[in-house]
């Protein structure tokens, strides 16, 4: 151990020079990465805060006049308050159902001796990679039969099916890490499997439940394809559909659209920045265990 320290201290001088130069280069690259990541969003934010007179300026102005008239138009004539409400309802309901069903399914997959559970987990994960276009026709017909087109459940049910694989994967990989002793102790205390799941497992797995919930929520908030085809009634449409089908006949109303884009994004960006640790652990769950 001490021999190695000796060796590395001999090279300290040469390394110090490299590190100094390296630090500058790294700092510059980091600044660039941050700028590129934030740039497009900042640009749309700047645009949304321009005044109607300023928006048509050529070349475009770098700084906005901090005018809120585009936001007034978005919530006034374009009714984005309703879209936001629809998005919130659909995303929240999807999150609750997907996490509940996901936890129920993850427990036996992770813990009980189930036949062919490896197969099942593969199927569940593969299912999340199905192209939407190959599913949407069948889903549409199913929902039409059930009278669920243009209703909240009509979107919540397929969203739940689409996000369940991810929720199951995250929860199952966390459940596996919980020590067996916990279960044994519960069994000794006379708990059945159901009590063990709800009273012992779920409380311990709270971080994984939170992670799964965030990822499901983000998916449901952002989803466009199904929302476009299932919610054709404007009163039921969600934010992504409202943004993508923004009315404009010859000239796109860029100011209004920019404000609408910010409205659709800001709640999510806030959520993500507050909960970033949980998200990162969720995105990488299972992926590095190989």
């Amino acid at each position: 151990m001490s021999g190695r320290q000796d060796l590395s201290s001999r090279q300290d001088h040469r390394r110090a020079e490299q590190v100094d130069l390296g630090r500058w280069a790294t700092g510059l690259l980091i600044a660039l990465a941050v700028l590129v990541s934030l740039g497009p969003f900042l640009w749309i934010l700047v645009t949304s805060l321009k005044s109607p007179a300023q928006i048509g300026a050529r070349p475009p102005a770098w700084l906005p006049e901090l005018d809120l008239s585009f936001y007034r138009a978005v919530f006034g004539q374009h009714d984005f308050g309703r879209y936001a409400l629809n998005s919130a309802i659909v995303a929240t309901a999807t999150t609750l159902v997907a996490v509940l069903f996901g936890a129920l399914a993850a427990y036996p997959l992770a813990r009980l001796r189930m036949p062919g559970r490896r197969w099942l987990l593969g199927l569940v994960l593969g299912a999340s990679m199905f192209p939407q276009i190959a599913i949407v026709g069948g889903v549409y017909r199913l929902l039409m039969r059930a009278g669920l087109l243009n209703t909240y459940p009509g979107l919540v049910l397929p969203y739940t099916a689409l996000t369940l694989p991810l929720a199951i994967w995250i929860l199952a990989s966390f459940f596996r890490e919980i020590p067996r002793d916990l279960e044994d102790a519960a069994r000794v205390d006379g708990c059945g499997p159901a009590t063990t799941l709800f009273k012992v497992f779920l409380p311990v797995a709270a971080p994984a439940v939170a992670t799964a919930a965030i990822l499901v929520f983000v998916y449901a908030w952002n989803e466009f394809f199904f929302a476009l085809l299932i919610m054709t009634d404007p009163a039921r449409q969600t934010l992504p559909v409202g943004v993508a089908q923004f009315p404009g006949e010859h000239e796109v109303p860029w100011g209004d659209l920019a404000a609408a884009a910010v409205v659709a994004t800001l709640p999510l960006v806030a959520l993500v920045l507050i909960l970033q640790r949980r998200i990162v652990s969720g995105l990488t769950a299972g992926a590095i265990k190989g």
Binding site: R4, T26, I30, A33, S37, L38, P40, F41, W43, I44, T47, I55, G56, R58, P60, L104, Y107, P108, L112, R113, M114, R118, L121, G122, G126, A127, M129, F130, Q132, I133, A134, I135, V136, G137, G138, V139, L142, A161, L162, L164, P165, R176, P193, A194, F224, F225, V241, V243, A244, A261, A264, T265, L273, Q276, V280, L283, T284, G286, I288, G290
Partner: protein, 293 residues
Amino acid sequence: MDHRQRRFGCLLMSPALVLIVLFLVLPIVLSVITSLQIDNPFVPRRFIGLGNYARLLSDEVARGTLGFTLLFVGASVALELVAGIALALMMHQSLRARGLVRAAILIPWAIPTVVTAVMWKYMCNDQYGLFNLLLYGGRIEFYQAWLAQPTTARLAIILADVWKTAPFVALLLLAGLQAVPDELHEAARIDGAGPGRRFFGITLPLLRPAILIALLFRTMDALRVFDLVYVMTQGAPGDATNVLQFYGYQKTFPEQQYGYGAAVSVVVFLLIAILGLMAVRGVGTRLFAREGE
């Protein structure tokens, strides 16, 4: 006990399985069946075997669409991997950088793809776009309509995708990097290996599993590109930026050629499924190895 456990397990999994079967598996089966039929509002529906697939083979637009889809997948996934590795290395270097870069790159990741598309469309705008402003400043006579020209429109869609999804790759790879023991780098440094040698000799090989997984997930996901094309170009100019999922959508919904549209959708499904199966045989055995314990 074992028997009771099994029944209890099936009971717990049933709500999830019912939803997955009803809304994912069954619709795929329906699409396959529809793809074997002539199914549009103008003629009576009937089975025609592989007729729709035969028509696909001679469909010039479909071939072009497949071409751009593959180009899109290849270019965007390659760029995402390079950008992702660079971002991951930066975040790995220092804790301060990690917090800052992670917060910054989570924003593109969190933004709805539709909004990403609107942003990039506006940045590419011929009159008020950021790219024109950055390239030409006040010389508005040079301003160009980037999305009206095939090459730049394609590039714009690829770059928008890279911007949005490189963060995901970076976070996956950062997790992989953190699993590489520091002692290895230290030992290599003592042996006189420079940063380049250390990266290609140690980091990259050890990062291989994480890279393969990122590659797999991104490729499968990129094959499904839709939102960006729907908002940014609608496949224009001509069909230069048309992609398989958008072509399938065009055939199925606006044109109501349900049978033909279903055939396109089955092709997308098969492309992704084959890739997935190949991956499960390779990478996946390691990915799922823990399941078998």
